[in-house]
């Protein structure tokens, strides 16, 4: 799973969000590292919807602006948790070693 896809799914963990809501939330979750442009966001949304990881929840028009909300599916939630566990395990290989290095100066 690509990093933008991971953060988009993570942004939808709590509540359904519309396009701009997802852009703001992914920026917030990644400490500003991921700034999604609209073309990238909608390409990812289309792909993730096709894979059944999220779906369009509802649509509303506010002050002439169409907002479609997206929500995570059960499959999307499983995929996200699986990916998080995989990254955690991958990170542990390194962090465990750095932890050892921190306690044992000979390994540094």
């Amino acid at each position: 799973m690509s990093e933008p896809s991971y953060f988009i799914l993570a942004a939808l963990l709590d509540d359904p969000l519309h396009g701009y809501g997802i852009i703001k939330k992914t920026a917030e979750l990644s400490d500003g590292r991921i700034q999604l442009a609209a073309g990238t966001l909608y390409g990812a949304l289309d792909r993730l919807a096709e894979e059944g990881l999220l779906l369009a929840d509802r649509e509303e028009v506010v002050e002439g602006r169409t907002r479609r909300y997206y929500r995570l599916t059960d499959r999307g939630s499983h995929a996200l948790h699986r990916e998080a566990a995989r990254m955690e395990q991958a990170a542990r290989i390194v962090t465990r070693r750095s932890g050892l290095a921190a306690t044992n100066p000979n390994l540094a």
Binding site: H18, A37, A38, G39, G43, D46, T66, R68
Partner: protein
């Protein structure tokens, strides 16, 4: 302010497939407008690039879902359409009403995807154009007199391709937009001279470059097939001119550029299809 910026963003959605634009265009524009600065007048370079590439990628994903036979059918159809529309433009310049009607029927049939009618009309036109080259046959009163094989090729190439497309196992052709009729209208403009030839050559090279970008960006090789079909009669014309005498350097370089672009397109199309098949 937002009205103008909205229209500018809407125009940037042109690279997206029309069905996707109809379903998601309003939503994407809203998201873009939500993200603008209060004093912003122009689409940001970052959003512009993202939209142009996003549209091409969306087309690529759709193209990858099409079957190879559908891609070939669409590409060949588009190539034939380009030739017959330019033929119609040239026919309109002549004062032979029956000839214009025959070419127009062929062009219209190609545009609407009526393969058999298109084949019949284009084949008859091709035979008619070939007649002056057969000295034993008198030229009928309703035909213009063409005296070279490249003119015959402009009808023979589409007729051969249409014969392939008329094969029962080939899928039906999609009807194309009426906007294509702008092409013969432009081709028939009563302009003459070197400046126009340069403009036409520049336009062709420019369009081929656009096709190359689309083929590489959208991983869609249909425009490459169409360009190859469209250029086939022209390359025959170049061969005929070279055979007739020492070629004009400018004309020769023009054909070398076109041929090089075609080779580039073919290479790009080949790579794309191989990648799609191994995915």
């Amino acid at each position: 302010m937002n009205g103008r910026l909205r229209r500018r963003y809407e125009r940037l959605l042109f690279t997206y497939p029309s069905a996707y634009r109809a379903a998601h265009g309003a939503e994407i524009i809203s998201t873009l407008l939500d993200a603008v600065r209060p004093d912003q007048q122009l689409p940001s370079p970052r959003e512009t690039t993202s939209l142009l590439l996003g549209g091409l990628r969306m087309r690529a994903r759709q193209a990858a879902k099409e079957s190879p036979s559908r891609m070939w059918t669409d590409g060949l159809h588009l190539g034939v359409l380009l030739i017959v529309l330019v033929n119609l433009g040239h026919a309109l310049e002549m004062l032979f009403p029956l000839w214009i009607a025959l070419v127009a029927v062929g062009a219209l049939a190609v545009l609407r995807g009526w393969t058999r009618t298109a084949l019949a009309a284009t084949a008859v036109a091709g035979l008619a154009v070939a007649r002056p080259l057969l000295p034993q046959v008198a030229l009928p009163w309703w035909l213009p007199g063409y005296g070279d094989w490249s003119a015959v090729a402009r009808y023979a190439v589409p007729a051969v391709v249409l014969a392939v497309l008329a094969w029962p196992r080939v899928g039906r052709l999609h009807a194309r937009s009426w906007w294509w009729l702008v092409l013969p209208a432009v081709a028939a403009l009563p302009l003459e001279g070197d400046a126009l030839s340069f403009a036409k050559a520049g336009l062709e090279v420019g369009l081929l470059l656009v096709v190359l970008v689309v083929v590489v960006g959208a991983l869609d090789f249909r425009p490459a097939i169409a360009a190859a079909v469209y250029l086939a009669p022209g390359l025959l014309y170049a061969a005929e001119s070279i055979a007739a005498g020492p070629p004009n350097t400018l004309a020769l370089s023009y054909w070398v550029v076109l041929a090089a672009l075609m080779v580039g397109l073919a290479a790009a199309a080949w790579r794309i299809r191989r990648e799609q098949l191994t995915q």
